[in-house]
Symmetry: C2
Subunit: 100 residues, 2 copies
Amino acid sequence: MDTLDISKLADLLKALGEVNRLSLVCTLCDCKTAQNATCLCSCCSVDASGVSRHLKILSQQGIVTVEKRGRERNYSLNRAYVATRLRELADRIESNLETS
Amino acid sequence: MDTLDISKLADLLKALGEVNRLSLVCTLCDCKTAQNATCLCSCCSVDASGVSRHLKILSQQGIVTVEKRGRERNYSLNRAYVATRLRELADRIESNLETS
DNA sequence: TTAATAGTTGCATAGTTGCGCAAATATACA
DNA sequence: TGTATATTTGCGCAACTATGCAACTATTAA
C-alpha cells in the first residue's frame, strides 16, 4: 500500500470517524430506499445545514450517492464500496507475513 | 447499534483516519515483531514527539499494545481487534434488510 | 557518576473542524 | 405570480488537532 493509497484511505476513515456522520451512515444502512436530507436530520444532533455539510463530505468520499429529485436530494449508501474498503484494510491487518 | 457504540466506533475510525497514524498502523502491519517508537519514526513525516503522541492515541483506542522493555517501548498491532471492528461495520453496511 | 539513548510532556502556534444562524438558491404548487 | 418546502452557502465562533521545539524523565552503559 503506497503513500497515496494510505492518504486516500485515511480520508475515507476520517469521513466515517465523526459521530454524526457515522450516525447518518448507520441510518442509511437500515433504509432500503434512498432518503432525503430532511428525513436524515432526525438521526443526528445537528440542524439541516450541518446535515447538508456532513452529507457533502460523505458523498465526496464516495460513501453515499446523491440523486436529485425535484427539490429533494435522495441519499443512498454505497454499501459495496464502503464495505470493500473496510474489508481490504481488515484483510491487510490480519494477513500473516512470512518475512520481517 | 446504539448511540454509545456509534460514538465508540467513530473514535476508533477517527484514530485510524489520520494519515500519519494510518501509516504507523500499516507499518506495524508488515512487522512480525513489535517495533519501538524510534524505528516507527521513519514511516511518517513527524518528529519523535509527534510519533509518541500518535502512538498514544492508537493505544488509547486499543489499536496497538505497548510493551515496556528497558528504555524502549515496543508497539504491536492488535490485529484481531481492529480487523474485527472493521468487519463488523462492513457486515452491517452490507446486510440486506427485509423491512423499511 | 557521567554521558548517551529512548521516549514523553509543556508550550506556543497554525490550521482545521463542527456548529448555528441567516441569507440565498432551487423547485414545486396554488 | 406569490408562497411553501428542501437544501446549500457565507459568516463567525469556539473547540479541537497536529506540529516542532525544548525541557524533562527513565534507563542503559562506560
